[in-house]
Structures are given as structure tokens and as C-alpha cells.
Amino acid sequence: MKKDKLINFSATVPDIPSLPVVATRILQIIASGNSSLEDLKKVISMDQAFSSRLLKVANSPYYRASHTVSDISYAITRIGFTTVQALVFAISLRDLRRSSNKTDVALWEHSLAVSVASGLIARDLGLIPSGEAFIFGLLHDIGKVVINLSMRKEFAEVIRIVQQEKVPFVEAENRILGFDHGDMGKYVAQQWNLPDDMVFAIANHHEPDIMTEVDSADLKRKTLIIKAADALCASLEIGLSHGMVLSAQEWQFVKLGSAKRRDALLAIIQDEYQSYRSFITGQPSRRT
């Protein structure tokens, strides 16, 4: 389980921009004149930038709410539908001006794929509500996104090491930065007042000792679903992940002990991911 590192992440967490293609889709949906809560929720739920932005706002002390939320519908209800529409419209206009590179796109694709995979594992196995798993999966690598935004050069070096030496991201990050995306993700998630279980899963989805060190069955389930989803998407080569390994015991815990079952799930993940991706980009499905 991740121990707190004495790292000074004192800088303000940057606003995470969405990709122009996502911003465009949001503008189109709102301007279509008949955008419902469901349409808006659907597109926001597929984007780590907009999801994290709304959760950050909804969970801030500004709303004086007694509990934190991890569900986008609750966040929209708390903030108000018209206000959310106006906010995401205005922010999308700004995001159109921001440039994005291949890494931004790869991180977005990976987060979407892990989100889809987490939802599928949770739904099929009835471990936790699939909507909750979906958002946990979407934000699991938020630490990578922030590192990529605030330390572009260093993160490019991390990617180079991962690709050339075939080592896991956390190893390369610790070598170059002295911390990994789990550390950064935990810091960011705490700054945004995300729920504790989500903070835990974001921080620990790469840790090898979840089975032995975590007492809470709920935390164990949520973290291992993300870990399993991450590993499945890495095997599909969606995004930049590499070298994700789960123990037999961990696969068993998420009821994916059989390789045959995992293979069947991989095919579904690939199809659903492509369909979600097409919904945003407007491009026909393609095999990665």
C-alpha cells in the first residue's frame, strides 16, 4: 500500500483541459437545443477533464455539502443543470484554443478504455455499481495527466524509458521524478476533495500488496477492479501503459481467474471502447 512521500507538491494543481475534439462535441450537444441531462452526462462521463472539473466544483466547500460525491449525475444536480451547461460551454470554448499532442490523446484514450473496462467488470461481476467503477476508471491516471501538463519534458523522458526499456510507468517515474503518478494522483484527488475511496484507488492501483495490506473489502474491490481494467487495456495496447501485472489471487478476487474469461472480456472492452470513442470523435470505430 502506498506510503506518503515527503514531496512538496505545493504548486497549484493546473486545470486539466479537455481535448479539442471533446470540447467540440460538448459545444455541439449543448447547441443542438435538445440536450438533456443524459446527453450531457454521457459526454462528460467519458472525459477525465470535464468529470474531474465538475467533481472538483461539486465537492468544494463552496457548496457546503455534507458528503462528497463521485457520481457525475449527483455533481450536475448539486451544481444545477443550467449552470453546468453554461460552465462546460464556456470552458469548452477555452479548450478549443489549447493545443494537444499525442501524449494527451493517448492518456485520454487510456482513461476512457479503463473506464469502460472497469464498468464492465463491475457490471458483469456485480462487485460494485458499474457507474461508480466507470468514474473510478476514468480518473485512475489523473496523476499522469497532471504530470504531463506541468512537467512535459520530464514526462516525455518517462515515456521514452517505458517504451525503450519496457518497464512499468511507476518505475520510470520514480527514477526520473522521485515520485510516481499514484503519488501525484493522490495529491490532486485530495486537493479536489474527491471521496476517500476514490483517492485510495487512484493512489494504489499499481501497488502489489492490496490483497494482504487492505482490510476493507470495498476498498480492495474498487482498487483491484481498476488494476484489472488497467492491465486488460494495457494488453490491448490502448494508451501508454506497459507491464501491468496482477497476481493469480488478484485476478481471482475480481472473478477473472480464468484466462478464457479474460479473453472474452477483452473482446467486449475493445468493442465498447470503440463505440464510446466514436460517439465523441464522430469517427467510425477502428481497431487499435
Binding site: T24, Q28, S32, G33, L87, I91, L93, R94, R97
Partner: protein
């Protein structure tokens, strides 16, 4: 019974005002400023949209383009044109209007139309982002809230959230 009677009466009034406003436009006599403001609000605008026909496109385009008309009138014309965004002439018209310098009130309505064209180029979207820049947010942000039917309180709320959380 009284309530039903009242609603029926209001329905007739709205329908009459909408028809009258459109007839005035066709006759080349735009309504007074106060009336123009009212035409842009719901439910009256909904009745106007119902009364407009494809034959009105030409006059609506003329009004929306002309600086001789007041902004509420031009907005009203552009809002009515929205239902014809699928027509090629309206599409070309909106694209041409976008390229001309205009106030945010007009530009936002044009944008609303352009966003219907999924095949619009990346360059156009980049331009859209440039036009709605941070330097002028105080001009366009309240208009967006208004466009989404938010009230004065929501305008303040959205502005506060944008400043507090998104460094606007």
C-alpha cells in the same frame, strides 16, 4: 375553470402577438425596442418560431445582417433562422456572417447555428475559440447563460464559479 380560461386567453394573446410581429417584419416595419426584447423571451419566442415559414428566410437573413437593426432584432432573426440550419442557403449565410465583424450578441447566435454542422472544419473551431477569448469574457459569458435560459442569479453564479475554479 377560471385557470383553464386564463390559459386559453393567454394562448390566444401569444399567438396573436407572434403572428403580428412576423407580419410586421414581412411588411418592413420592425417592432419597437421593448417589444423586440420581449420577442426574444419564452414563451413568446416559441410562438414566433411556430409562426415562421421557410418563405421568411430571406427577410430574416436581411435583418440579421443589417446593422441598421437593433441587436435584439438581429438576435431574434437569427434565433428564428435556427430551424432552417439544415438548408444549404442558411448554412452558407451563417458561415459568411461568421467571417464579418459583429457584436457578441450576434456572434453567439451565429455560433449556435454553426455548431449544428458536424462536418465543420478544425480551423473554424479554432477560430471560434479565438473569438470567445478570456479578455472579453465579461461580454460573452452572461450571454451564454442567457442563451441557456439562465436568470440573473445564474449569471452571477456562473461568473463566480468560472473565476473561483477556472481562472477566468
Amino acid at each position: 375553470m377560471d385557470k383553464f380560461y386564463q390559459e386559453g386567453r393567454q394562448e390566444i394573446i401569444y399567438r396573436y402577438v407572434a403572428e403580428k410581429a412576423l407580419q410586421d417584419l414581412r411588411d418592413g416595419t420592425p417592432p419597437e425596442t421593448a417589444m423586440q426584447q420581449l420577442l426574444n423571451t419564452y414563451p413568446l419566442f416559441g410562438y414566433c418560431r411556430q409562426a415562421v415559414t421557410a418563405e421568411d428566410k430571406k427577410i430574416l437573413m436581411e435583418i440579421a445582417s443589417s446593422r441598421q437593426y437593433e441587436l435584439p432584432m438581429r438576435r431574434f432573426a437569427l434565433k428564428l433562422l435556427q430551424q432552417f440550419v439544415g438548408d444549404q442557403d442558411v448554412k452558407e449565410y451563417l458561415r459568411a456572417l461568421w467571417d464579418k465583424p459583429c457584436d457578441y450578441e450576434v456572434r453567439l447566435e451565429v455560433l449556435w447555428g454553426l455548431l449544428n454542422y458536424v462536418e465543420a472544419s478544425e480551423e473554424l473551431y479554432a477560430e471560434i475559440g479565438m473569438h470567445f477569448d478570456a479578455a472579453n469574457w465579461d461580454k460573452w459569458l452572461p450571454l451564454i447563460v442567457e442563451k441557456l435560459e439562465g436568470d440573473a442569479e445564474e449569471k452571477v453564479h456562473v461568473r463566480e464559479l468560472m473565476k473561483r475554479f477556472f481562472n477566468l
